[in-house]
Symmetry: C2
Subunit: 293 residues, 2 copies
């Protein structure tokens, strides 16, 4: 479940995607109607596909209380405030459901079927409207004690930087998300409401200001990744999301900052790379949940 | 093994300390002589104590390659550069040895026999000459892929802040260690080479500058802890080391910063508290290594 689209898929135990359905997330109709749509998608796919059902996973963009299966709140899903999504969907489809945060699910998906197949430990950063994070340790999602771990978009990279809705200042997602790219582009006179893709095209056409935007964003990202490398010493850090397209313009500044700031990076064979599954990562991760929980 | 003292202990499987020996770390004599001293301490304790030997753990302040049992380098142990400490001690005592970073061992010790007994997941920050870190997840040390995880003293809290030997700028240990307290005290005109304990006494006597030192240090610590809470969502974050004595003066600024900057902290029952075992934490952790590895 995303803020804009609902997508569901049947994925087999080898990680092959067998069938899928897509639709809009009708948030205006309220949480009950959205959960009806989710249940309908699942039931439709069950009707279409044979085989034995290993389980059902649902990924949502929001803060989740794992044990209760409750969406505490979600900036991208207005109306989903203390909603027992797991139980509500279970009731509708009469089968057990695993509920997970979307960035956590995406990280698990990349580990299972994407760019993280070769490792057991990785960190994924999703560079979208906001910045989400997922931590895979020993092949499983690191949840923390109520399920709020991996809030990597709120690592502070610029103290006394841009204020964030979370209460902090200078959070990573205020300086390296698609939203931050749009804001910087406006401040540097490139135009109003440019998407990060539009800013990328300007950079590719040689626009110096657009390149400064990505160099600045890359440095902020590098500060956070250096912290993560120093904390985890994992072999792999993956990036995904819309801003990833501009890799050629932000990656140099990112690597320079990580190399400068992280002794651990300089002294171990750490890889920072692109995620592979795009928007489908969450589908694969959700499908994998029943097999790793 | 510390930079100044060598300490060894016999600890039973219930976590009771049975016997101990202490001596100086004779770094001037070189690594071979220091490892001779370590082996002699272990053999002396084995001679004095009965019972069955479950295993031997050795904790050292430095960067370790876990699989090889090698001390890559150690700022506090000049001369220990690419030294195969594990194998060298094993050869001397003819028994298997578990080698571990001292902050990791201290974290494990606090989990086993100290302030972390009630939880399975915690982070320890040791506020000494530098700042070390240990991460316990599921009751075990989180090592990362070559054993360098937990370099928490190098989380960046002040971008473009004080340069650090690691290559970064504004690392936590440049702003919240005992060394940082001494430096700030000098800059604020309190005196040359004051220990953090002396600065603490000034603060307790009402000296406003000394209180500013700890408020500044507490805020820097709060930035790093907020990051860690957002990343891990663990139930417990422990502080130890010499600066801990000044808790009453740095803790308010620390808590204010964590509360302000971490949505996860505000919305979960997260505890930040004092470690209990002091300098013995590493002894307990080292003793626990053979039982958790």
């Amino acid at each position: 479940m995303g803020g804009t689209n609902l997508r569901a898929a049947v994925i087999d135990e080898t990680g092959a995607l067998i069938d899928r359905v897509e639709g809009r997330t009708n948030l205006a109709a309220g949480p009950e109607a959205v959960m009806d749509d989710i249940a309908r998608s699942i039931l439709e796919l069950r009707g279409r596909c044979g085989g034995q059902l290993a389980g059902i996973g649902v990924a949502v963009p929001g803060i989740i209380e794992m044990q209760k299966g409750v969406v505490r709140e979600s900036p991208n899903l207005p109306g989903f405030c203390d909603i027992p999504v797991r139980d509500e969907i279970e009731r509708r489809i009469q089968a057990p459901v695993h509920l997970e945060n979307d960035a956590n699910a995406a990280a698990l998906g990349e580990k299972w079927a994407g760019a993280g197949r070769a490792v057991d430990d990785l960190v994924l950063l999703t560079l979208g409207t906001g910045i989400g994070g997922g931590i895979i340790y020993g092949g499983k999602i690191l949840h923390g004690f109520v399920g709020m771990a991996g809030e990597l978009g709120h690592i502070q990279v610029v103290p006394n930087g841009n204020p964030c809705a979370c209460g902090g200042h200078g959070c990573l997602e205020k300086h390296a998300s698609a939203t931050a790219v749009t804001l910087m582009a406006r401040l540097l006179g490139l135009g109003e409401n440019l998407t990060s893709e539009q800013v990328y095209h300007l950079a590719r056409d040689g626009n110096a200001h657009a390149r400064v935007v990505f160099a600045t964003m890359g440095k902020a990202l590098g500060v956070a990744i250096a912290d993560l490398v120093n904390i985890f010493n994992f072999p792999l850090y993956l990036l995904s999301g819309g801003v990833l397209a501009a890799w050629e313009f932000f990656a140099p500044a990112m690597f320079e900052e990580v190399r400068r700031s992280s002794y651990v990076f300089r002294n171990s064979d750490t890889r920072i790379g692109k995620a592979e599954l795009g928007k489908d990562a969450g589908l694969y991760g959700a499908a994998r949940l029943p097999l790793t929980a």
